[in-house]
Symmetry: none
Subunit: 248 residues, 2 copies
DNA sequence: ACAATTCGTGCAATATCGTGTAATATCATG
DNA sequence: CATGATATTACACGATATTGCACGAATTGT
C-alpha cells in the first residue's frame, strides 16, 4: 500500500460519503490508526480536508465554496444552462437527467415556459414545482441515492415506450475517443436507454469534464447531437470529431 | 458519529425546518439528550443558532418557514409523527403518501432505520436521501403539482403488483360517516388503490381534519387500521365507530 | 402553586490525539 | 554492492475530547 495511493483513497471516500472515521478506515485497510491519523493530519495541512475528532470531513465550507466553485463551476454551469434554456422555446418534450448541472437548467427555465418534462430524478421533479405550465412525468424505480435518480428494471421498462424531442444527458466525462462516460454502470446503461428514446441528445458540459474519462461508458461521441460548453482549448478534439458545440 | 458531523446535521435540519427539538433529535440519532444539548450550547456560542428552552431556532429565520408554519399545525404533526415513527421498528416495508404530514414523519425517522419505503411523492423521496439504510422505491407517473405526487395510469399500474406492510395515508378530512376524504378525485382513487395493496392503513390526522369532509371520498372508516391523533372531543364519534386511535 | 421538563455543571469512563521513539523499508549515491 | 539518508510504520504514553449519568437549579405548562 503506497502512501499517496492511500491518501487518494481517503479523498475519494471523502468525496463519496463526506466523512472518514479514522478507526473504521484503518480497519478497512488493515493498518494502524496512527497511520491513517497521520495521513489525515497531512491532508488537512494541505487544506484538502477538515480534520475533526474521530476522523475528517470534507474541507470546511468557506474553503469548500471556493474549491467547489473552482471544481464544480457553479457559475459556468448557470451560464451554460441559460444558453440551453433559450433553445427550448419551440421544443415540446424533453427528458432531464439528474445531477447538479440539469438542476441549474431547471433554475434557468422561465417560470411560464410550456413544456413536457420527463425525469427520473425526484430532485429535478421537486425543482419544477413552480413551473405551472410544465407537465412533469416522473419515471419510477429504485432510488440510487448517490446521484438521486431512479434505476433498475422498472425504470427501464417505464422509458421503453416514451419518445422525447431532447434528452439532456448528465455525464462526468466527455472524450473524443472514449465518448461519454459516467461513474456507475447501472446509471450508464440507463442513460444509454434514454438516449435511444430521444430525437436529440444534448449535454451541458462544464470545463472539468471536457477530455475527462470516467469508468463506465454511456456511448460514443456520435450519440450526442450537441453540447453546451465554455470556450476551451480542450474542446478542439471534440469539434474535430464532428460534435456540434454551443458556447456563450 | 463524529461530533462535527452531528453539528452539521443540526445546522442542516435547522435550515430545513427552522427549529430543533433536543429530545427528538437525540432520539433520531440514538444519543443522549446531554450530548445534543451540549452541541446546541456550543453552536449557540458560535452564533450559529439561537438557543431556546427545549431546543434551538435559526439564528436568522427565513420567510419561508414563517409562511410554512402559518396555517399548519407543524408542532402537532411533529409530535404525532414521532409517535408513529416508533411503531416502525419492526416493520419491513411501508408506502408513504405525499403531504406535509408524512414529510414530518420522514423527519422523525431515526437516521439509521432500516426499511423499504415506497412513495409516489418526489418530495418524500428527496427527504429520505440521508437515511442510508432506507431503500426507496419511487412510483412514477404524471406529477400532480398541487400535492406533489404522481398519478395516472402508469402510477396505478406501478402499484398493482406491490405489497407493503403499512400505508401511511394522507387525507384532508376524516368523518365517522363520510369516511376518509381528500380534495381531488384522481388522488382519491390512487389512495384507494394503494390502500388495497397494504396490510395495514394508518393515517396521521391533525386536529383540523378530525370530523372534516372533503369533496372526494377515498373510502369508509373501516379502510383504516388505526390513526394517530391528538386527544380531542371530536374524536369520540370515530372511536365509537370502532377506529383504533393512538395519542401522544 | 405544583408537577414535569429542561438546563447547566461536575464527574468518571472511554476514545482519540499528538508527540516521541524504535524498527524496518526504500532511496540516493559513491 | 555498501552505506548513510530519508520515509514509513507501529507502538507507547501523557494530554485532550467526548459521552452519559447524577444532581440541584431554572423554566414551563396546568
Amino acid at each position: 500500500m503506497l502512501t499517496q495511493e492511500r491518501k487518494q483513497l481517503i479523498l475519494i471516500q471523502l468525496k463519496k460519503t463526506g466523512r472518514i472515521v479514522a478507526k473504521d478506515f484503518s480497519e478497512k485497510l488493515k493498518l494502524s490508526e496512527d497511520t491513517i491519523r497521520r495521513d489525515l493530519r497531512e491532508l488537512a495541512a494541505e487544506g484538502l480536508l477538515q480534520r475533526v475528532h474521530g476522523g475528517a470531513l470534507q474541507a470546511s465550507p468557506t474553503i469548500a465554496n471556493l474549491a467547489e466553485r473552482r471544481g464544480m463551476a457553479i457559475e459556468e454551469k448557470a451560464k451554460l444552462a441559460h444558453l440551453a434554456a433559450k433553445s427550448l422555446q419551440r421544443v415540446q418534450s424533453i427528458f432531464l437527467d439528474g445531477g447538479t448541472t440539469n438542476l441549474e437548467l431547471v433554475r434557468a427555465l422561465p417560470l411560464d415556459l410550456s413544456l413536457q418534462v420527463f425525469t427520473h430524478s425526484p430532485t429535478i421533479a421537486v425543482a419544477l414545482e413552480q413551473h405551472d405550465q410544465v407537465e412533469v412525468v416522473v419515471i419510477g424505480g429504485s432510488l440510487f441515492k448517490h446521484s438521486m435518480v431512479t434505476l433498475g428494471a422498472s425504470a427501464a421498462r417505464a422509458i421503453e415506450n416514451l419518445r422525447v424531442d431532447v434528452f439532456f444527458l448528465g455525464l462526468t466525462g466527455l472524450h473524443a475517443k472514449e465518448g461519454a462516460t459516467t461513474g456507475h454502470h447501472e446509471e450508464a446503461a440507463m442513460k444509454a436507454l434514454i438516449a435511444e428514446r430521444a430525437a436529440e441528445v444534448v449535454s451541458i458540459v462544464s470545463h472539468e469534464k471536457v477530455g475527462a474519462v470516467s469508468p463506465h461508458r454511456i456511448g460514443n461521441l456520435a450519440m450526442l447531437t450537441a453540447i453546451y460548453a465554455s470556450r476551451n482549448d480542450r474542446l478542439q478534439p471534440l469539434r474535430k470529431a464532428g460534435l456540434q458545440i454551443y458556447s456563450p
